[in-house]
């Protein structure tokens, strides 16, 4: 199985001339943003066509247009020579377009067969489930996929890789023409990946067109025949995988002219505020060592799943380290809970502000003071007047737009919500500020404001750690950049002097340390 998967020369497309699917000049606008600007993309039968681009480049929007979740403002979708317009995902599915997501939608306490035919169980007389046919049909599909488990197995007992196969098997019920894999290996171990590759080749042999979205160059070069690149919502070229190199693809991906505001970055650093020594959480990340000085912004760059957020959570006391040390202000500290972390002066602006950062049903003022109620109360009783003073201070300083402090936080825009989370933490007067994906899902204007705010905070003496998957963000704000791949720190770079290629290599596991690349770890 795995030998076939590692074969560098994928099977040639059955019919390499006529595309089974063409997206022509697709344009999609959201209020204030052009997410896709006249993007064209096609897939041939039996071909794996990789779609690449940075986060926010428009890959998922394009696929959502294809799957009928979004309706385009312009352009055509042509499937097998026929122009189509999908008003909803169901229509797209009926035409044979299937999306396989990272997150899975299986019913764990049901059998594999029931999951495959969920919503379309074969019935016999009297509206009873035809179990015989159900299992026969399921077994047939599983055999086509060369799956090793039975249709009667319980889904909850399967490994993540096998669950993903059930997900794929489900796609085959409707005889698909196009299957879109969106970061399919994100939750798979290296051991499980070859199985997925086999399935993809299998689908290819059956003449299915495959769209493969991934950040991982090695996978793309293993699997695909062609590679298309999107950048900032625009089509940026298609390459034949056989005739190109990883370097060329990387250049196409990031070749923008970055407007980096290096001048405004903080310059004066003090002592070490945070130092990690071989910090390890078994099975999550290993031997992570780096430091953040007072007044310095350190960027942590890596792909989703590289272990960045987990490192932050460990510093913040939400995970228990299984080895290594955390030093704050030069002293080894053991931080057992988020409460300890707050007392130690650590602030964490979490990745997912709606789920982890805010109480959406609470008003702006109450969210702002949540982490430091002690500062606005005496003898346990809240002093609402002082709370209002605190709220007004941060509301004005950060230009939070809301009609009143009474407004429920859930009604604010993403940028304003994020400012409230940041305000909440500033009010705890932290020594170390950790921001996890500080501008995810935030519009361009607020993004710039938040970047300026981060730099200003560092200049006023905060030690800042910014975790991000967006290269412009990391390059734009960081003095130093820590690159992570697969639970390890792969390299450390000077934020003003690093090349983008090196960064991309470092976070995709291709980086080999050479003398000119990384700066030595800064010491206190």
């Amino acid at each position: 199985m795995s030998t076939a998967a590692m074969n560098r020369n994928p099977p040639q497309a059955a019919d390499s001339s006529s595309p089974v699917l063409s997206l022509i000049d697709i344009t999609k606008k959201f209020p204030g943003v052009v997410a896709l600007n006249q993007v064209s993309f096609d897939v041939r039968a039996g071909e794996v066509h990789a779609l690449l681009g940075e986060n926010g480049a428009g890959k998922s929007t394009l696929m959502k247009v294809l799957a009928g979740k979004h309706q385009p403002n312009g352009g055509k979708i042509i499937l097998a020579g026929e122009e189509k317009s999908f008003e909803n995902p169901k229509q797209a599915k009926k035409s044979g377009i299937v999306l396989i997501h990272q997150e899975q939608s299986l019913v764990p306490e049901m059998s594999v067969a029931e999951n495959i035919f969920l919503g379309s169980l074969p019935l016999k007389w009297g509206n009873r489930v035809d179990w015989k046919k159900l299992h026969a049909d399921s077994t047939e599909i599983l055999e086509r996929l060369k799956c090793t488990f039975s249709s009667r197995d319980m889904v909850s007992n399967l490994s993540i890789a096998k669950k993903q196969m059930v997900e794929i098997a489900r796609a085959l019920v409707f005889t698909p023409r196009i299957v879109v894999f969106d970061e399919p290996t994100a939750s798979l171990t290296d051991h499980e990946k070859p199985v997925l590759y086999d399935i993809i080749r299998n689908l290819q042999e059956q003449g299915v067109g495959i769209v493969y979205i991934s950040h991982r160059m090695d996978e793309i070069f293993h699997l695909s025949q062609r590679i298309s690149v999107l950048r900032d919502g625009e089509y940026n070229g298609t390459l034949n995988t056989a005739d190109t190199s990883e370097d060329e693809v990387t250049k196409l991906m990031i070749g923008r002219t970055l407007e980096l505001d290096h001048a405004s970055k903080p310059k004066d650093f003090g002592e070490n505020m945070l130092e990690l020594r071989n910090l390890t959480v078994n099975g999550v990340f290993e031997d992570v060592s780096f430091n953040v000085r007072k007044g310095e912004i350190v960027g942590m760059y890596g792909l989703v799943g590289a272990g960045r957020s987990e490192v932050a959570e460990t510093i913040f006391g939400l995970r228990k380290p299984s080895g290594g040390e955390i030093l704050l202000d030069g002293k080894v500290e053991s931080i057992r809970s988020s409460h300890d972390a707050v007392l130690e002066g650590i602030a964490l602006v979490p990745e997912d502000r709606k789920d982890q950062g805010l109480i959406l049903g609470m008003n702006c003022r109450d969210n702002m003071t949540l982490s430091a109620l002690g500062s606005v109360s005496s003898m346990g009783f809240m002093k609402t007047g002082e709370e209002k003073v605190v709220y007004d201070k941060y509301q004005q300083a950060m230009k939070i737009k809301t009609p009143s402090w009474r407004q429920k936080v859930g009604n604010l825009s993403g940028g304003n919500q994020q400012k409230i989370v940041i305000g909440k933490w500033l009010h705890t007067h932290p020594k170390l500020l950790i921001l996890d994906e500080p501008t995810r899902g935030i519009d361009v204007g607020s993004k710039a404001e938040i970047h300026a705010l981060i730099k200003e905070l560092a200049r006023s003496g905060y030690a800042v750690l910014v975790i991000s998957s967006e290269m412009p963000e990391v390059l734009g704000v960081s003095n130093r950049i820590i690159a992570m791949y697969d639970g390890r720190v792969t390299a450390e770079f000077d934020g003003d002097a690093v090349s983008e290629d090196k960064l991309v290599q470092a976070i995709t596991g291709q980086y080999v340390t050479d003398a000119s690349g990384p700066v030595p770890a800064a010491s206190a």
């Binding site: 913040f316 939400l318 809970s337 988020s338 409460h339 972390a341 707050v342 007392l343 964490l348 979490p350 789920d355 982890q356 950062g357 805010l358 109480i359 959406l360 049903g361 609470m362 109450d366 949540l370 982490s371 109620l373 002690g374 109360s377 346990g380 009783f381 809240m382 609402t384 737009k401 809301t402 009609p403 009474r406 407004q407 429920k408 009604n411 604010l412 825009s413 304003n416 909440k424 705890t428």
Partner: protein, 319 residues
């Protein structure tokens, strides 16, 4: 300290339950001339004080995102202890009874906190187990108060207002202020609204949950003691179904089962609504079984109306 407008306003709108309370008050005052008399109104307050006291604590627990089904059993145990231990003196008996509530609440809270098992399951177990303890302790016997000071207390009044009603109203005021004005109150909302965000904000969510279970245990025990003084006795089956009436009152008052939202003023409205309906229909001589049917229908209707209003409100301003 509290003005009437703020009192009726939960979160910017007048709470629907208070509109309902006013409507049924007007309705019954036309149906029965006795309804609005001081005597009858105090009667309603005394009748609602038992469920009302428990509901105060239950409001905290439910805003916190939990539930306590063991309150009826805790009430029964406290009542039996407060009567059964009177040989050691009333003070000791009452202290023992109240302590039992605190301890059982603490145990519930500790289990929910440390094991992470759903509060519904933990307190369901406690409900069955504590009821068993009552039977072990009483050997299925009812206890009668031998000390008249005890049973006199339950029927005494200051001026025209019964002492039990006064206790209930004072507790309501205190609980309202604690919920609205203290850090604990604020954190109770935060933990119920989004436990993960509360944890990430450095709030010790386990402690707040436990404190709230202790509060509801205390109020259940207090309600048990006061009910025993009212009756001058305690029966082993005392408090059965009270958890359901309590939750009904709290939910009628606008507290969400999912946590993060609710108020003591709403709960007071919910408790009064049930009390007024029972009392008023009684005065109109509606047969008791129909009263239950009507109460069930009203509970569901009020919640449907509340849901519609909330859907409307959540479509508010978005910036």
């Amino acid at each position: 300290m509290i003005n009437m407008k703020d009192f009726l306003k939960g979160s910017g709108v007048i709470q629907p339950i208070w509109v309902f309370v006013i409507v049924i008050t007007v309705f019954f005052s036309f149906m029965s001339e006795y309804f609005l008399s001081i005597g009858n109104l105090s009667n309603i307050l005394v009748q609602t004080s038992t469920i009302g006291l428990i509901a105060l604590g239950m409001t905290y627990v439910m805003i916190n995102g939990n539930i306590d089904l063991s309150v009826g059993a805790v009430l029964g145990l406290a009542a039996s202890l407060s009567v059964g231990l009177q040989d050691y003196g009333i003070t000791i008996a009452v202290i023992a009874a109240l302590t039992s509530g605190l301890v059982l609440g603490a145990i519930n809270g500790l289990i929910v906190w440390k094991t992470g098992v759903n509060a519904f399951i933990v307190t369901l177990g406690a409900m069955i187990g504590v009821r068993g303890l009552i039977f072990v302790y009483t050997e299925e016997q009812s206890f009668y108060a031998t000390n008249f000071a005890f049973s006199d207390f339950g029927t005494s009044s200051i001026g025209p207002i019964p002492v039990l009603a006064i206790i209930f109203l004072i507790c309501t005021l205190v609980m309202h202020l604690v919920l609205k004005k203290t850090g604990h109150g604020r954190n109770t909302f935060a933990v119920g609204g989004n436990p993960e965000a509360a944890l990430d904000a450095g709030i010790r969510i386990g402690r707040h949950m436990m404190i709230n279970f202790i509060i509801v245990g205390f109020f259940a025990a207090l309600a048990g003691v006061l009910l025993a003084t009212q009756m001058g006795a305690a029966t082993p089956n005392l408090g059965r179904d009270y958890e359901l009436w309590t939750i009904t009152a709290v939910v009628l008052g606008g507290t969400k089962l999912t946590g993060g939202f609710g108020s003591i003023t709403g709960t007071l409205g919910g408790v009064l609504a049930i009390g007024i309906l029972r009392n008023g229909m009684n005065l109109m001589q509606v047969p008791a079984f129909y009263v239950l049917v009507i109460l069930g229908v009203i509970l569901i209707s009020v919640l449907i109306i509340d849901q519609r209003l909330n859907v409307h409100a959540s479509k508010g301003v978005s910036i």
